[in-house]
């Protein structure tokens, strides 16, 4: 828990420093806006985290999101009377199907995840062009209820945040309360040992890529309706921001290490940086360079922490380790 605590302290410190320079940043309205803006990153980073836990990576999530989003926009234009629930289901299932394809190729054929998702990244992105014929769908093409859903509120909190909260709770439950969740840590920590314990990698892979796909699909509708536009390039390159959130949150790319709270804090950190730059009069062009520097800093810190944790297995060994120095 120490790691997450330090990251939380850094985030609080960051907010305070920015708040001193620009008090408008720490008003409740502004903070709520940051949380709402970062909702996508919360959900997608958790989905990416369970993939990375199994020593995999999914580069196709942003393309998947864009594809599902485009599909919902087209569906809503063709059938304006379609209820929002149906649109959300359509979006999620589209994402699930695309994620399942990734999982089938990785688990079924044993192709390395980076190769598969690199390929499907290009394929899914291109399919958007094919299904939409290259056109842009703007808010004029979408029905009012399609656009209104993410902005609608319940108990003063937008439904986008509610959905993110439900997804976060589901991930927390999966990872800390179920056997499947423990299994994910096991296959990532040591695939061979996990296999001897009867935990097979392939079904786990099929599961995590399908979940990652479903979450991306769900975010697809929410993204398109929140920003009121759908075209081929939406969320282009967002997969790297998502992976960055995981790395900052302490998820080890080598698999088996990562927590829900850490990943959420990693995502929140990036969300705050992105939202703070315009407030403190820094050109938004800095955003990319800053997130790059933060990723490098985080991965250096992670490596230090892992090395230290790896050395001492038994608490009794501490004195011997101390003596030998």
């Amino acid at each position: 828990m120490r790691r997450e605590f330090i990251l939380a302290l850094i985030i609080v410190g960051l907010v305070v420093v920015i708040g001193v320079r620009a008090p408008v940043f720490v008003t409740p309205a502004s903070l709520v806006n940051i949380i709402t803006d970062t909702s996508f990153l919360f959900m997608l980073a958790l989905a990416q985290m369970i993939v990375i836990l199994t020593r995999g990576i999914d580069l196709s999530v942003a393309a998947n999101l864009a594809m599902a989003g485009m599909l919902t926009a087209l569906a809503s234009r063709a059938m304006p009377e379609l209820p929002v629930v149906a649109i959300i289901l359509l979006s999620t299932f589209c994402g699930l199907a695309l994620g399942f394809v990734n999982g089938a190729l990785i688990a079924g054929l044993g192709i390395p995840p980076i190769v598969v998702t690199l390929g499907t990244l290009a394929v899914y992105r291109g399919l958007i062009f094919v299904v939409a014929g290259g056109q842009w769908l703007t808010s004029d093409d979408m029905t009012p209820q399609f656009l209104a859903f993410p902005k609608s509120t319940l108990l003063g909190i937008s439904s986008l945040v509610w959905i993110a909260a439900i997804v976060i709770a589901a991930f927390w439950y999966l990872l800390s309360q179920t056997r499947t969740g423990r299994g994910l840590y096991a296959v990532g920590g040591n695939p061979v040992a996990a296999r001897y314990c009867g935990i097979d990698l392939a079904p786990q892979q099929l599961l995590v890529y399908s979940i990652a796909g479903a979450v991306s699909g769900l975010c697809g509708y929410l993204w398109v309706s929140r920003y009121g536009i759908a075209y081929v390039d939406i969320a282009q390159g967002y997969e790297l921001t998502i992976i960055a959130a995981c790395v900052i949150g302490g998820v080890s790319i080598a698999g088996g290490v990562g927590t829900v709270s850490g990943t959420l804090l990693g995502a929140l950190f990036l969300g705050i940086v992105v939202n703070a730059l315009p407030v403190i009069n820094v050109s938004p062009f800095w955003q990319m360079a800053i997130s790059g520097a933060v990723i490098l800093a985080a991965v250096i810190v992670n490596a230090r922490a892992e090395r230290r944790a790896g050395k001492l297995i038994l608490p009794e060994a501490r004195q011997f380790a101390g003596a030998s120095k």
């Binding site: 190769v115 290009a122 992105r125 291109g126 094919v130 790297l240 991965v299």
Partner: protein, 334 residues
């Protein structure tokens, strides 16, 4: 009767025709032939020496980086920051050109920036011991981010004419061979020689197959990894010189997404992402397949994004099909 010694190693089984036919490079040659035949069938403009020479402009720069990337992937590393290095190197050349630097200085600056960026990656990966995929995702944002901070939404377009010749000119008039393509061929020969005919090349394979064993057999694994990152960075610098000279401008989004195209070529070329196997001829063939397929499809006005779908499918299919075939062949005797 001769008692088998404890450490007897069996002779390698003689090579059979089916071994040769099932080699990845043979399959790539067949794919290349199919691409050429297909393109010739669908467009009368494909088999024209000037058009083909034009086509090389579009893939030579990526192909040059692919040579370095192949070695990195061979030793189990990867560099996702190559396209961002191009952006940074191009920016440095642009600023120098604005200050009135001549062509030799511009080239030197482009290559040095590439080498320094590569050394930065190599330092973090080989000296500090961080996973290369995360490091280069980070430096990818960092390098391109710096270019974006400096350039904003501007572009630098003032390059001397002599410099632009590098990217647009021909080394030989007939057959028309552009500088960039000639340089790629030269580098490919050098890389193939080093990888397949020298002890250094054997060391790369040893590192890729088992880095720990390689370390214990006296190979300076981390030193080699560091220099491979420097090499790949420098090749990205070369690509930056050629590309900047060819299009005559520097924008923050220059060469965006190239890392994926380069890696696609390397993997299609038969270099295993798990390390330890792959050949330079394979990578060269893959570069030609991708380059000519793209060129042929664009001749019949297929949109670029559709081409990228086809190349994505090709990448997955090229790895999936052999696995499926192998499984079917295994099942038959049982």
């Amino acid at each position: 009767m001769k008692q088998p010694a404890r450490y007897d190693v069996a002779d390698r089984a003689p090579r059979t025709l089916s071994d040769f036919l099932l080699r990845w490079e043979t399959i790539l040659v067949a794919m290349l032939v199919l691409v050429v035949i297909g393109n010739t069938a669908i467009s009368p403009y494909f088999l024209d020496i000037y058009n083909l020479s034009d086509a090389t402009f579009n893939f030579s720069e990526k192909a040059i980086i692919a040579l370095g990337m192949a070695l990195l992937i061979l030793v189990r590393d990867i560099d996702l920051s190559v396209a961002a290095i191009i952006a940074l190197a191009s920016l440095a050349m642009g600023l120098a050109a604005d200050a009135g630097a001549g062509t030799p200085l511009l080239i030197l600056i482009g290559l040095s920036v590439g080498a320094v960026c590569g050394a930065f990656n190599g330092f973090l990966v080989a000296r500090i011991g961080l996973p290369s995929i995360v490091v280069t995702i980070g430096t990818m944002s960092l390098f391109r981010g710096i270019a974006q901070v400096v350039l904003g939404d501007q572009a630098i377009t003032k390059y001397p004419a002599a410099f632009q010749t590098l990217g647009q000119g021909y080394l030989v008039r007939w057959p028309p061979i552009p500088y960039s393509f000639a340089l790629f061929l030269l580098l490919a020969v050098i890389f193939a020689f080093v990888l397949h005919r020298t002890t250094l090349g054997r060391k790369f394979y040893a590192m890729g197959n088992n880095p720990v064993a390689a370390q214990f057999s006296g190979i300076q694994v981390d030193k080699i990894r560091f220099w491979l990152f420097v090499l790949t960075g420098t090749l990205a610098g070369v690509a930056a010189v050629l590309l900047t000279a060819r299009i005559g401008s520097t924008r923050p989004n220059i060469a965006l997404g190239w890392e994926l195209e380069v890696i696609t070529a390397v993997i299609l070329g038969g270099v295993s992402i798990a390390g330890g196997s792959g050949t330079i001829p394979g990578v060269v063939l893959a570069v030609f397949i991708l380059g000519l397929a793209t060129f042929g499809l664009s001749l019949i006005n297929v949109p670029g994004i559709v081409i990228s779908v086809l190349l994505g499918l090709l990448l997955i299919a090229s790895i999936a099909v052999p696995i499926v075939v192998r499984r079917l062949m295994k099942k038959k005797p049982a």
